[in-house]
């Protein structure tokens, strides 16, 4: 029985990766939930928006690197991120102006808007491919580790290694700052409150003189910022590949629904629930069990990693069956 090493193993292989992944999902789900709350449809283009924002950020990163600009130990992509956000936001606003606005005007049913977002998904997917191709790209530079396995061993003398990659730490810090800023914005600023009011009761918001076009525009800008940040953090942590971003749609939506569509707090909780379940279920627990005094024959892996999407799906189904409004009661800011 070696509790300490077991804990370190859990920390290293489950808690740290799942926390980083959860933060990325949470940011993605926040974007989805925000668009749902204000514009009232499920945006199928969100995964490809994340991909587009990341692609732009990567290109700007390359430009900065070529110009010799760097952030020292931090990845250059963080410097490029604001540019990526700005360009993505501009594209979203253009999309809204040219495409979505018309459907708001004619009060189209939500499912029609979902269909329209599929068209936008095609567009953004194609543009991303044109920009950067379909191959896997790594764009993290700067220091790779905050804690290396060797340092950890020297410090603690434990057999079990622990590493903390800088991208994981950056993910959590950036996500925390972004979430704090978003909640501050929604709770304290006039514009943020008007967005919540619009989400709560559109008719009354209009009667109160809240300008819907402004609310919608701000929503797209924030969604673009959240999607790009989520995408860049995910890409730094793992790698960028356009198709993987499309596939993130499922866990991101699952997180948003599990937390309650339209509820930002729920989106964050949902992101971490999905991430921890996914990592926990696909992690091979053999080693941990060994430390706890049980030597298993198999890997003690509940599901192979190829089935990680099944985890999001099962959680989604359970929530739909037992609490369709989500854990935090949906459609409420």
């Amino acid at each position: 029985m070696d509790l300490l090493n077991a804990l370190v193993a859990i920390l290293n292989y489950v808690v740290i990766p799942a926390t980083a992944y959860g933060a990325q999902l949470a940011l993605g789900a926040l974007g989805v939930t925000l668009i749902y709350g204000i514009l009232r449809f499920s945006n199928f283009a969100h995964g490809d928006t994340m991909a587009f924002g990341t692609a732009v950020t990567i290109i700007v990163t390359w430009g900065l690197q070529a110009a010799g600009v760097s952030l020292g130990p931090l990845p250059t992509a963080l410097l490029a991120l604001p540019f990526g956000i700005a360009i993505t936001a501009a594209l979203m606003l253009a999309t809204d102006r040219v495409i979505y606005r018309y459907y708001r005007k004619v009060h189209a049913a939500p499912v029609i808007l979902v269909m329209v977002s599929v068209g936008v998904m095609f567009l953004m997917n194609g543009i991303t491919r044109l920009l950067i191709g379909v191959d896997e790209i790594r764009f993290d530079d700067g220091a790779r580790f905050l804690i290396t396995a060797r340092e950890w061993r020297d410090w603690t003398g434990l057999a079990e290694p622990l590493t903390l990659r800088s991208t994981q730490a950056i993910t959590v810090v950036v996500a925390a700052v972004v979430v704090w800023a978003l909640f501050w914005f929604l709770a304290k600023t006039r514009t943020g409150k008007s967005m919540r009011a619009f989400s709560d009761n559109e008719d009354l918001a209009l009667l109160s003189g809240i300008n819907p076009n402004r609310v919608v525009a701000v929503t797209w800008i924030i969604a673009a910022a959240l999607a790009t940040t989520a995408g860049v953090l995910y890409g730094l942590d793992k790698s960028f590949k356009a198709f993987n971003y499309f596939q993130l749609l499922l866990p991101v939506f699952a997180a948003a629904i599990v937390g309650g569509l339209g509820n930002p707090l729920g989106a964050i909780a949902g992101g971490f629930i999905i991430a921890f379940s996914e990592v926990g279920v696909t992690y091979a627990w053999k080693k941990v069990a060994g430390y706890l005094g049980y030597n298993a024959d198999g890997l003690l892996q509940l599901l192979s990693t190829e089935y990680k999407f099944a985890v999001s799906f099962v959680i989604l189904i359970i929530v739909l069956l037992f609490k369709p409004t989500g854990l935090f009661r949906g459609k409420s800011f």
């Binding site: 409150k193 009011a197 009354l204 009667l207 109160s208 003189g209 809240i210």
Partner: protein, 234 residues
């Protein structure tokens, strides 16, 4: 000329007219009450006055100014406040935020107005940090009225403010409405509780099938045996 003069309103939501040559007038600082059976078009008439309905005919003037072509938002700026019959608060926002949203179009400092609303409805002050959706029906109606008061309207329009509240709370709400009228605000309201409402009404309108059936002072309508029999339940 009356402070609010909505005359000859004809129109509806689609092809068929709901309102037929309907006329509503309110004098400065007075209370006008609309009563009538369910589906008579009372709410529709309120929406028409507030510009939420396209009128085929008719004209609305406020303080002598023709506002027929203005949008609801513009009418708010002109001094109208409206409390809809349903969905009249922001349920997941606090009482205070609801009032703030009421004052959204105001550029100036509105803390004074908020204090006045809290004076009028002291319970709201105690619950200012609570979400409006978590309040009781009567408290929610107070939030709704308070929200509309935040723009300091000259005309306050209330669609069934006492719907679903207990008789005691109803009396209380009526007292508050009289208080509001005393400050010089004109009031146009729809009421299901016709007797009590007509008691405090300067003018009463009985609306049937989108048209004016009876129009008189509140007291006169209460005294009219015909009105009593058909609309006030004997």
């Amino acid at each position: 000329m009356s402070f609010l003069d909505a005359s000859g309103m004809t129109g509806g939501y689609g092809a068929t007219d709901i309102l037929h040559d309907c006329t509503l007038r309110v004098e400065k600082g007075q209370i006008a009450v609309i009563v009538g059976p369910n589906g008579a078009g009372k709410s529709t008439a309120m929406k028409a006055v507030f510009g939420m309905l396209r009128l085929r005919a008719g004209k609305v003037t406020l303080d002598g100014e023709d506002i027929t072509a203005l949008s609801p938002q513009e009418r708010v700026r002109k001094g109208m406040g409206f409390v809809p019959q349903v969905n009249n608060v922001f349920p997941t926002m606090t009482v205070e935020e609801n009032l703030e949203m009421g004052a959204f179009i105001r550029e100036d400092d509105f803390t004074g107005t908020m204090e006045q609303v809290f004076e009028l409805f002291p319970i709201l002050c105690d619950k200012r940090r609570q979400n409006a959706g978590e309040l009781s029906g009567g408290q929610r109606q107070q939030v709704a009225v308070g929200r509309a008061l935040m723009t300091k309207p000259k005309l306050l329009m209330l669609d069934e403010p006492t719907a679903g509240v207990s008789p005691i709370v109803m009396d209380e709400l009526f007292d508050r409405i009289i208080e509001i009228a005393r400050t010089g605000i004109s009031i146009l309201m729809v009421e299901q509780n016709a007797r009590q409402a007509l008691e405090i009404a300067d003018t009463g309108y009985v609306l049937v099938q989108g048209a004016n059936r009876y129009t008189d002072t509140g007291a006169a309508l209460m005294a009219d045996p015909e009105v009593r029999r058909t609309f006030l339940g004997g």
